[in-house]
Amino acid sequence: MRMLKQFRSKIREINQRYGKPKIEMSKGVKFSLAVLRIYLFVLVLLMIYKFITVL
């Protein structure tokens, strides 16, 4: 239990430490990240679809 608590506080600390992206959010960066999100979203959808059809 204590370990789990420690672990959670550790995660929280990491989330706080890296809360704000340091890189300058220029148009290029924003665009790339957006495309990446869409790409991953589609990929996950495909995997879920495959998972359902296999079952």
Partner: protein, 422 residues
């Protein structure tokens, strides 16, 4: 200055550069040669068996692909003195950080399983039972890492890299026809026209050349080795030489299987080794030793890549140079990843083929993200300063990255839906 002095001066300068290179060499060589892991050997063996020498030209194209991607990690590591995971967390925030980290852990673990599969298969050719192989490997790797110095670790890893060159004498032993290698291999051609099967194999070759763990691994090892900005050129050279060696080794594997097993259906390298045993005992043995070595080298690097990444984020002392007591979590995570992955091939009826496919699919979720992050990070003038990407470097690396993303996505999707491209 007369002729003698000029000669002396030049010689000394070159000699000094060579010695400096020998000091700095390591991360690039190791990461590139470890890239020829069990999965890689299988892919190359299959390529040779299926198409003979015809795809050697394509392998040569992989030199710049591997170099331009990995070279960026050298610059990033030497300038920021941070591993890739930490760089992603810091620059893109916790969301992308966790995504990369967990994904990396997952891919690495799966890849590690394939390395163990390769290693146990390789040694089973010599009659060694799988469980002995697994225990031996886990022990050996723990000893190497527990030794507690980056320096010794690197030298041992370089020793295994040297063993990876075993395919070169093997290729000479099968007496291939040099003229047909040059005639068939060096002229770009698509044997049998462009079809689904060929496309799948080309994608597999690219997929083994750039793996997500390589980015994380090389950047962390550059940091652990303590390379500085002034060492960047040597580090790049190291990467270039490594990428040439890795492709040369791949070509020699293709030559071996292309000469002896041309036309045979090969699913994995162990089968190839077994079949080679029948035609030429020594070449078969070399193939098996090479496969074991490739799996071991891959396992060492991949498990380290995860441990380094986790250490960076959780703030555990995350260097090979720290003692076990100072960095218990670093070593525990290393050992856990290793042991759990080692157990999988021992499970009777484990879905090993499914796992291999799964690696490709999950890798496709991580690789594009990691590559995009890499290019964005290298364009961050604020931290990279004069070492940021030049327009030329950007053009080259963007083209390469887009190519890798498209091909590896198709590869992953075709692994999900095998009938899609039929």
């Amino acid at each position: 200055m007369d002729f003698f002095s000029v000669l002396y001066f030049r010689f000394k300068k070159v000699w000094k550069a060579v010695r400096l290179y020998l000091v700095i060499a390591g991360p690039g060589l190791v990461v590139m040669i470890a890239d020829n892991d069990a999965g890689g050997i299988t892919t190359y063996a299959a390529t040779g068996a299926k198409y003979g020498y015809h795809l050697i030209w394509f392998l040569l194209l992989l030199i710049p692909v591997a170099y331009y991607v990995q070279e960026m990690t050298v610059r990033l590591g030497a300038v920021t003195k941070r591993g890739h995971a930490e760089a992603i967390f810091e620059s893109f925030g916790a969301f992308w950080g966790w995504f990369s980290l967990i994904d990396l852990m997952f891919v690495d673990w799966l890849t590690l399983v394939t390395e163990f599969v390769g290693m146990t298969a390789a040694l089973s050719i010599f009659g060694i039972p799988a469980w002995i192989t697994v225990i031996l490997v886990v022990l050996l790797m723990s000893i190497i890492v527990l030794n507690g110095r980056y320096w010794t670790w690197e030298k041992i890893a370089l020793g295994f890299c040297l063993l990876n060159l075993i395919y070169i004498p093997a290729a000479f032993m099968v007496n291939p026809s040099v003229s047909s290698i040059l005639g068939q291999g060096l002229i770009p051609n698509l044997p049998g026209g462009f079809n689904n099967e060929l496309f799948f194999l080309l994608m597999a070759n690219i997929g083994t050349t750039i793996a997500p763990w390589m980015l994380f691994f090389q950047q962390s090892s550059v940091v652990d080795k303590g390379l500085q900005e002034k060492d960047i050129n040597m580090g790049k050279l190291d990467t270039l030489i490594g990428s040439i060696i890795t492709v040369v080794v791949a070509i020699f594997i293709v030559i071996v299987t292309g000469t002896l097993l041309n036309g045979a259906p090969i699913d994995d390298a162990a089968t190839a080794a077994r079949m080679l045993m029948k035609t030429n005992h020594y070449v078969g043995a070399f193939m098996a030793i090479g496969l074991f070595d490739a799996g071991l080298l891959g396992a060492i690097c991949i498990s380290l890549a995860s441990s380094w990444a986790f250490g960076e984020i959780f703030g555990w002392a995350h260097s090979l140079n720290t003692k076990v007591k100072e960095a218990p979590w670093f070593y525990i995570s290393f050992f856990l990843t290793l042991a759990t992955a080692g157990v999988v091939p021992l499970i009777p009826g484990a879905p090993l083929v499914l796992i291999t496919l799964f690696v490709q699919v999950v890798a496709v979720t991580l690789l594009p993200a990691a590559l995009v992050f890499l290019i964005l990070l290298l364009n961050d003038k604020k931290t990279m300063g004069e070492y940021a990407n030049t327009p030329l470097q950007n053009t080259v690396s963007v083209i390469i990255v887009v190519l890798i993303i498209v091909l590896s996505t198709l590869y992953g999707v075709s692994a999900l839906f095998p009938n899609l491209f039929q």
